[in-house]
């Protein structure tokens, strides 16, 4: 356990730690889903979480946004620090915190409203009343999510009527509209076809310049393509974490190597 925690802390001097997860445990009822996981997530980097199904990747990423608050049976212990402040401490308002940590879900979940309103929704509920400022935010966010050219002539149509890949980019635009600092993505391309997946991956590469991105993925190839750093999860624990090319070419742990070379999972 201690060895793993140390591996997770392997930081290069050049980058700052944006999110520091220390000794995180998550339980669903009596099911111990995350066991003593520690990981440093670096600023302006893409961190990929890989591992077989049911190993706790999604549970881990949801803990960074306090989404477990909605699940009555879920219990979280340990620390998740965003810029050195524990988001689970009493002084932190989860609602304010979530504006800084955006989340893109596995299945696209556009709201049942127009394309424009989907993106304008976040700023509006967070107190932005100025219509022209909202319009600028909407256009910027849609452009940044590489969706603007496809939808600019039909912003008043329902967001639910878009294709799956477009819906997912709409959800990314929705997250970008709040100018978050960290973007969490829970298998954002798993419900999409290869072309839509390629678009999302290009987008992730661009997002890295302004945001800290954490992405859960089932696809090793995807982790290899988009991420700077990778953490390997197994049975609720982080087995190994480090720069992606090192994890993929010279893993320290035998179990990481077995997984990456396709011997299980």
């Amino acid at each position: 356990m201690i060895q793993r925690a140390i591996d997770g802390r392997e930081t290069s001097a050049a980058t700052a730690v944006k999110v520091r997860v220390s000794h995180l445990d998550v339980y669903y009822g009596s099911n111990h889903a995350i066991r003593d996981a520690s990981l440093d997530i670096e600023e302006n980097q893409v961190t990929a979480l890989i591992g077989p199904s049911g190993c706790g990747k999604s549970t881990f990423i949801r803990a960074i946004n306090r989404l477990h608050d909605l699940t009555p049976s879920a219990r979280v212990s340990g620390k998740v620090e965003l810029d050195d402040v524990d988001i689970y401490s009493r002084d932190v308002d989860p609602i304010v915190m979530r504006r800084r940590v955006g989340m893109v879900f596995q299945r696209p979940n556009p709201f049942p409203m127009s394309i424009y309103d989907n993106v304008a929704y976040g700023p509006r509920v967070n107190g932005e009343r100025n219509a022209s400022r909202i319009a600028v935010l909407v256009e910027d966010s849609l452009r940044h999510a590489a969706l603007w050219d496809e939808v600019k002539d039909r912003l008043s149509e329902s967001g639910v009527a878009l294709s799956g890949g477009q819906q997912q980019r709409l959800c990314i635009a929705r997250v970008l509209s709040l100018r978050p600092e960290v973007i969490l993505m829970d298998e954002p391309a798993s419900a999409l076809d290869p072309i839509a997946t390629a678009k999302i991956e290009e987008l992730i590469a661009e997002l890295r310049e302004q945001y800290t991105v954490v992405i859960v993925t089932h696809s090793m190839a995807q982790a290899g393509r988009v991420s700077d750093r990778t953490a390997f999860f197994l049975n609720g624990s982080i087995v190994e974490a480090g720069p992606t090319n090192q994890i993929f070419t010279r893993p320290k742990e035998r179990r990481t190597e077995d997984y990456i070379t396709g011997r299980f999972g």
């Binding site: 979530r98 879900f105 979940n109 929705r174």
Partner: protein
Amino acid sequence: MIAGARLAASRRVSGLVGVILTGFCSALAAGLLILILGYVVVQGWGAINPAFLTQLPHPVGVSGGGVANGIVGTLIIVALAMLMAVPVGVLTGLYLAIYGRGLTAECVRFLAEVLSGVPSIAIGLFAYTILVQPFRHFSGLSAAFAFAILMLPLMIRTSEEAIRGVPTAIREGALALGLPDYGGVIHVVLPAARPLIVTGLLLAIARVTGETAPLLFTAFGSEFWELNPGNPMATLAMQIFKYAISPYDDWHRQAWGGALLLILAVLVLNVGARWALRGRAKRS
């Protein structure tokens, strides 16, 4: 071999009997409905004319007249019932679908189920006891209250199912945008559930529009224009009842006309409910 063939033959026969029996019963059920609808149309069509729809009832012995006050009374009472049943029903459904857990939620759900089985005349009696007796006169409001209680179980059940049908991911999406949970529920979950809730509401209205028993000692009836729900009010269902048991041919015809109007209203509500659902299926 022979035994096998005989078995196969007996299976074919019992299969055939099954098809004939179920087909016959289905035809009987559908046929009865068509028979009733057809009979009402044939009997009632002649009574429906502009005067029937726009005039007050005429006194006994004076032919002609209409049920306009009954139509308006029914509309007012149903609208008031809606105002009472919708907020309570939808919020209860919301509670059961999202927040309610354990014994409390089970109790609420069970009581709503029991309520849907209570005879409408008993609910009318209840409304009479608390809204008519203390004020010493009948009123449209007391009828609306009885109707609201009748609508409530259906509203609760359909709202709960509609809200449960909205994916959790949508609620989480709102939460992840920095919205308090109730905000996501109000702005995102309820609009997503609206088509199904509207469907339930239309069916609930269709269910009460034809109710007569609770009206006997609540709305009571009136021969005049009555727009104030604090007073006794005419309703279409009560007028049908009164005309049908009268000894006059003219009133009998008007009773059929009223019945036709009621059936048409319920038909429109049912088609509307289907239409609301179809729009939903197309979008998703």
